[in-house]
Amino acid sequence: MSNRGDGFGFVEPRQSKARLGPYPIKGEFGGSVPDSLYSSNQESAWNRWRRGYELATSDAAHTAFEYPFSYSIPIPSGIPQTGENAPFLAGVFKGFPTRNKELGMHWCGAVLAGSLRFDNLEDQNDVPLSIASVTESGQFWRVQLAGTYDAANPLPPPLYVRVPGPAPDLTPIVGDILEDRVIEVGGVPVTKDTINPNTGTRYGYTSAVLQEVEPFTGVLVLRKQGSVEATTDAVLITPAQRPPQVGRFFINGPKYSCSCQDFTRRQYYYVSTVLGKKKSPTFPMSKCATLKPGRYEAIANSAQQLDDRVMQSALEDRRLTIVAPSGYELPFTETRVPLDVGNIPSNTNRDFPGIFSDFGNIYKRGTELPEDPSIPGSRSEGMVTYADYDTIPPAAAGQPNQLIQLDDRWTPLLDEFRYCKHIYAMKYTDDLFPPEPSDFPTFSYNMNAWEQELVEQTQRDQKKAFENLTTYGLSYMDVPPFNCQSPMMMPMMTKLLNVPADFIAMRGFTMYDKNGNAYRPASGERPSNV
């Protein structure tokens, strides 16, 4: 008897394996408190941390699946681009061969530190945004930036973006890592080994997550928890023991994203028949409970026709949009709804079988700012609260507000941002040993035996995944950036590049082949060795 699958076509593992996880989180609207040891183990970040290490060691020499890139951010209409150098983000895609993944590959991406520099931001009086002062507040550093700020002259984008109308304003880089590594305007960022010629000692620096922005006072709130310090002895320690240094400028730290179902919180349907070896009939379906009510993502071609296929060409851009019933659109959603769909309820309320299931969208720990509990996520999460819901005013006086969105602010056991094992593997490879999460799972049997099995299983899986790849592997259009506008990759790309989906264009990608030669896929160019 075959294993029973869930409503999305996923085959449930046998119970003995189900306890070991990790598998995609399946709780959708069940509140935010883990209700059993089973869910505690399944959702353990430590589990991913440990598996990531094993994956990194098993995958260390597979640089063949690394795709270095630079992405030129398109300039909005009406704004001239000045200067010799185009604004770009440097990064790399890395493929992790995976046995149970369609096409046999998960794509993980990283944007490098250094692309975003605060010495390129100025206040209303053209004062560069250096660190003016730092005060400590519980588990946070409050960093006052140089400059003059008020309600009419807030921090500049992308620190703060004012949104017209009643929609909330944006702080796009909240959640990113900031590092105080630029000593002077235009200077080379210091590394952990850079020595101050005036003192003969190393500069050192501090990395921390940007937790909050106070735009009208010019204050950035950085989180001590999970911070990393490069000490004057060139050692990385966590948490950092010293705050960001006054007079320096921040740069962005590394940023990661992954296409796997664990990081994206999505299941997908495995369509491949593996060269005909899989005989059982399949039909993709998705549970209503896993779909965001009334909304779904759609990708359209330049003719605004729905095009959710894998990418067919690098010469035509596609757009991601969120289709919603009239009156229930999310703020900032693109207006270009595919003509095939139309923004009408009969279409938007339909099931979208076999594409994705999705739930929740924000995963961050409570900020523990007791002085202002009205800030979403400002306290440790418990049961679902009123603040988790987003409503709009009632249609008529006397009626209740209309619920339009539920943000599941959910971090039951974590003390850092939640990563998948692929991202952990990249961080290990970076030589930045990631802090060990505190949610050590409750194993059902011997820990040593589990680890030994993990080592052997990872090696077996990696070897088998490579063999599979060489048998029925990737086509030319299945690797970045050629697949970056596919339904699977587009959400991952928006998280990685942190630009609106509208601004992810094929023409922005410059890739580098194995010999370091640049090529531009949108111009029809290919690696020199193809």
Partner: protein, 76 residues
């Protein structure tokens, strides 16, 4: 640092595969062989992008993209 890095150069990398590691790369039992070492960018590297005054910097472009998007303006 003995030399001043140029625009877009990597100033710090944490990935230096040894010749032995490069030579050991394999695809399971596949006869496919690898060559080269794609060393342009690795995760964990730090890039040097010192935009001058008046230049359109990356952080400015990122902010401009978001500011334009909320106003319904797309890329050029």
């Amino acid at each position: 640092m003995s030399e001043t890095p140029g625009f877009g150069d990597i100033i710090q990398t944490r990935v230096n595969l040894s010749n032995q590691q490069l030579g050991k790369r394999e695809f399971g039992r596949s006869p496919i062989k690898l060559s080269g070492n794609p060393a342009r960018y690795h995760a964990g590297d730090t890039v040097h992008q010192p935009f001058g005054s008046g230049e359109t910097s990356t952080i400015f472009a990122l902010g401009a993209a978001w500011a334009a998007s909320v106003s319904g303006v797309g890329p050029q």
